[in-house]
Each structure stands twice: as structure tokens, then as C-alpha cells.
Symmetry: C2
DNA sequence: CTGTTAGCGCGTTCAT
DNA sequence: ATGAACGCGCTAACAG
């Protein structure tokens, strides 16, 4: 039924080793022989079996990607970066959603390892001891992607979330704002939640502005929770003159709430956030936000992984990509 | 180095066949033996090699997914549906972006087939003869996902794009609009472009409204092209009283352009579109749009594929999922 | 430059 | 219920 390397060999009148050589572009084949083999391949419609090749060579040219949720635009962008670079180096990607749930993460790591991936890209919640254990149970290279690792034991590429938040809030402060509300993500989330909150706090502290609980609301990254938080802020006696939101979506929720209350952005209240998703340039006013290079995070981590898989010597295994404030129209000087 | 089934056999004092049986849940093993084997597995940290298993069993429990662009929210949603169901049936997903480019599509189909995937989910541009040829070159089941196939030769699941557009435009007409502009996608795209335009046309024709070229602009699905198209419409002598946009993004571009011209949505101009992306509920006014069940398209096509891979008899192989108009705030009765 | 020969790790008869 | 032996399709020495 299926045509194998052996059939080709017979058809071309050579040995299977020779067929293997031409298929794998080994230079040690006479051009004429090569031609004969190619013709036989063509005639028989031979297609190499990558599984057999994987078993014999102990390489699958496949890498596993653990991702929280591919339907989340942020991660999808990372995934595209990963796939583009993988493709460039002739790797394929096995994609697994794990929703930042530890059990699911450990589980997919194991099935990925069973599938003999040549490398692993991990994007998830916190990296626990259990994760490390699962990683160490095999010798395939791993790189953490947009994921923090307290133990700092594994190669990783990410941005500096704390600094990103710090910079955003500092922009507000440099515009004269001193009454700044924060719409945070859950503080349990080390990167998008806790770190950004820390940046907010540090920016205030360095400016000598007291951090008060009433100016902090915790949301769930989504539009609706931005609305909810903003409704709260608007009813405050000392209403903030500026809002720092941990995500664009929450920022947009805040903007709409402000506008619905017949206040203006940025004239009455300024808004800044972090993400720079497509939506940031699809609101009125255009949203000032700090851009995270998500595509690049994916691309760079995949590139790092190729080096690791290639057993190249990589000195720096902790890569922090730069972020950038995209100044648009949602921040103004305080009145 | 790596511990194999053979090592486990020795450690447990049984044959490798027995180990294979317990690993694969074959009932023909004495409980006591099973226990011994499990203990040996635990002790040695044995992890089955899926590649070797794939070679021996001719099954990889892996399916290939060809997708236009995972960083596009619409497709990412489909992908999540696919992965969830795949996961449920213990399949893994190899994900390949092909950007709707024919050559790239054919190329990834072939590498996926080389990897011996048990099935293929294809999401792309048009399905040409060359695609069919590539599909037919192997006997693995294929299902088309959100992709039209003129030849109608391959199992597929999609929505009725023409009808979706028709319904949207009809809602406009039933609100008294007779001067309706369309912001279309490229007409070369059979589903999102051409079919939606056809639906627009048919709705007008059935209402006895002439279809005039001046009321049709072709965009590229994006926000910016919605802006551009709307600028054109606004300067028209007989300005449309309603706009049908082929995507939410273009619709939002139109809305903002209308508002920037100091006109109101929907009081002055109504806007409707199709997609029901998250953004539809993140604009003011909230966007009325027809919802496509993208997650379901992914889930249903993956489910169909599992049946096909399982050699179950499936009668209907052309599944059309229902769409639904989500009425929000961007459409009003004509003044 | 080419062919021979072993495995790679596992599923699967076929015996027992 | 268990074991022996073969083969899945290919790569990788090694020999010539």
C-alpha cells in the first residue's frame, strides 16, 4: 500500500542507503544516481515517513508549545511569532492550551515529551517546583516564554512588567497627575497582575505620592471589569484625575464609563494602559498605552530554543525585551 | 540513557509484550502482574515513546491543522474549538499558518502528511484542484473548516455567509432603509468577500432596491479600510442612511468616521456588520452584528474528523452551522 | 560514491 | 495470562 524507501531503491536500482542520502541531501551521491532516484520517487509518489525517521534519528523536528489560551489575542500573537521562526528553521509546532492550570500544564508537558518533541516552549502561570520536576524528567531544552520563574533556573524571554507599569504611571505623574487610580489584574498573576501593580506602587512612591487602597481596584483583564472599576472611581469623593489600567480592554471599559458619565477623556480624566492591542487604535480617543512586543517574545524565544536544540553555546539565557510607550490621545496634563 | 519498555520488562520480571499490554490497558493481564509492572514503571521513570508507538501502530494520535493566521482573532477562536475537542479525544494538534497562500498551503499539507497525522483540518482560501490532489495523495481523512470548496468533494463545516449577509441587510431594509452602502472584503475571497457581497445584492434585489456601484466599497477587513470607505460614503451626494460592513473592524472604522463628522450612529446613519467579535460590545454605540459560531465551527469540524478517523459511517458531510443576528444599538429606523 | 547491516522502541501475531 | 519473534520505515555507522 504505502511506498517505502525500499520500493524506491528497487525501482531506481540502488540501495536504500542511497535513497536515504538523496532524500536527506547528502552530497555524497553522484548527480546521475541522484537523478535516477528522484525519478523513481516521482514515479512512485514516494513520501518520506517522518515517524520512522524520527525513531531512527531521534529527532522529530517538532517542538511543543504550551500556551494558556490561543483564543486570547495576546497569546495568539506570541504563537504567531513562534510559528514563523519555527517554520524558518523547519520545525513544526504542537500546540496545547493549558489555561494556566497547573495540572493541565504538567499533563501536556508529559504528553509532549512522550511525543519526543525536540524542544519545549512554555507559556503559563507560575513555574512551580512541579513544573521544574517535569522539565528535568527529560533532557530536551525548554524555554519559558512570557512567563516568570522565581527560581530563575530555566532560559526565558519576557518583558519587564514592573518597569512597563512604572513607565506608564510615571508618564501620568510627569503630566502633573497625583491622584491616580489603578485598575489592576489579579494579584495572584505574577506577571500581568502583581508586577504591574508593583510598578504602579514604585512610581507613586518615588514621586512621594501616597499609595491609598481606595485608588486600587482589581479586575479580571476584561472590558466589563474596567467598567465596573471605573464606576467605582467616578463616585469617589476625590475622583482620580488619571487611571492606569493593567490591560487595554479594561482601559477601554474605563474610557466608555467616563464618557457615559458625561466626562471627557483626557480633558477630565486621563487613561493609560499596557498591551497596545489592535483595539488601542480603535477607540476614541486613541489610547495611550505601553506596547509589549508579543510577536517578538515568541520569535525570540523560538530562536533561542533552536540554538539550545542545536547545542550551541548560549551565554545569556534570560532575555528581557524592551517595551515602549505609544503616546496617543488619552493622556493630558492635569487641569 | 532512555528507559525503554524492555528495561521495564526486565525490572518487573515479565516480557515486553506484557508491559505493552498494561501500558495500553489491555484487560488480558493478571491484576498482580499489572501491579508489578506499574511499580517497575514508577521506579524507572518510564515514559512511553509515542514515536516508536506511532511507527508500530501506524497511528500518531495527532492531527494537522492548516490555518490562515493564528494571530487573527477569528481563526484563533476556531483553533481553540478544534483543540478543545481534539484534547477530549486525546489527539494533539500540529498547527501551521499558511496565510491563505496556495503554495504554502500545499507545502504544509505535505509536511503534515509526512508526519503521519491521523487526520487533517484545513482552513484556508479557495480549495483548488491542486489542493484536492494533495489531499488525495494520502488516505487520511480531511475536513474543511470555515472554507468553501466549489467541487463539494470534501467534508466541510462552515456557516452560510451569503445568508448571513442577506439577513443583516434585510434587517436594515426592514428598518426602512433603502439607501444602503456596503463595505465589502475583497471579492476574490469566496467566503468572507464574495458570498457576503452576494447576500447584500440579493437582499436589495428582493426588496426591489437597485444595486448601484457607488454604494459599494471594497476594503481589506481592517479598521483603517472601514474609515476610508466611510469617508467616501459621507461625501456622496445621496449619502447612505445605513452601512453594511463585512467585518466588525470595518464597521467600527465606519462608526468612528461618522462620529468624527459630527453625525450620530444610529440616529443619522445605521451600521451593521458580521463577526460579533469581542470588539462589537466594546464600541459606543454597541454594534449590531451577525454572530458566527467560530468556536463551534472548530469544535464541530474536529468532532467530524474524529468520526472519520474512527471509520464511523457519517452520512452528512456538509455541515452548515446557524448564524444569529445580535441586535444591539447601532441600527435604527430610518428618519 | 555506494551497499550491508544493525538497530531505533514499540505493537502484534502466534504459540503456549 | 504470558512470552518469543517479527516488522513498522528509516538513519547511521561501517565497509568497500
Amino acid at each position: 500500500m504505502t511506498v517505502t524507501i525500499y520500493d524506491v531503491a528497487r525501482e531506481a536500482g540502488v540501495s536504500m542507503a542511497t535513497v536515504s542520502r538523496v532524500v536527506n541531501n547528502n552530497p555524497n551521491v553522484k548527480p546521475q544516481t541522484r537523478k535516477k532516484v528522484f525519478e523513481a520517487i516521482e514515479r512512485l509518489g514516494y513520501r518520506p515517513n517522518a515517524v520512522a525517521r524520527g525513531l531512527a534519528s531521534k529527532k522529530t523536528t517538532t517542538v511543543g508549545v504550551v500556551i494558556p489560551d490561543i483564543s486570547n489575542a495576546i497569546f495568539a500573537e506570541v504563537a504567531r511569532g513562534i510559528e514563523d521562526i519555527a517554520n524558518m528553521y523547519r520545525y513544526n509546532i504542537i500546540l496545547c492550551n493549558a489555561d494556566k492550570k497547573k495540572d493541565k500544564e504538567i499533563s501536556v508537558i508529559n504528553t509532549l515529551l512522550e511525543k519526543q518533541v525536540d524542544g519545549l516552549l512554555f507559556m503559563g502561570g507560575t513555574v512551580t517546583q512541579e513544573h521544574i520536576l517535569a522539565f528535568k524528567s527529560s533532557s530536551v531544552p525548554i524555554v519559558l516564554c512570557a512567563t516568570t520563574d522565581d527560581n530563575n533556573a530555566i532560559p526565558a524571554v519576557d518583558i519587564d512588567h514592573e518597569k512597563a507599569a512604572f513607565d506608564a504611571v510615571q508618564l501620568l505623574i510627569s503630566n502633573g497627575h497625583r491622584n491616580i487610580g489603578m485598575i489592576s489584574g489579579t494579584l495572584q498573576d505574577p506577571a500581568n497582575g502583581y508586577a504591574r501593580f508593583q510598578g504602579y506602587k514604585r512610581a507613586l512612591e518615588e514621586a512621594g505620592i501616597p499609595v491609598i487602597d481606595d485608588h486600587i481596584r482589581v479586575g479580571n483583564y476584561r472590558y466589563e471589569s474596567g467598567i465596573e472599576a471605573m464606576k467605582y472611581f467616578i463616585n469617589l469623593a476625590d475622583k482620580p484625575t488619571a487611571i492606569f489600567a493593567a490591560t487595554d480592554e479594561m482601559a477601554i471599559g474605563a474610557i466608555h464609563t467616563i464618557q457615559d458619565a458625561n466626562l471627557r477623556v483626557p480633558d477630565d480624566i486621563s487613561v493609560i494602559s499596557v498591551d497596545n492591542s489592535r483595539m488601542a487604535s480603535m477607540v476614541r480617543p486613541l489610547l495611550t498605552t505601553v506596547a509589549q512586543p508579543m510577536y517578538d517574545i515568541g520569535a525570540v524565544s523560538m530562536r533561542l530554543l533552536t540554538k539550545l536544540m542545536n547545542k550551541e553555546n548560549v551565554e545569556v539565557t534570560k532575555i528581557v525585551l524592551p517595551h515602549e510607550i505609544i503616546v496617543r490621545k488619552s493622556v493630558a496634563h492635569v487641569k
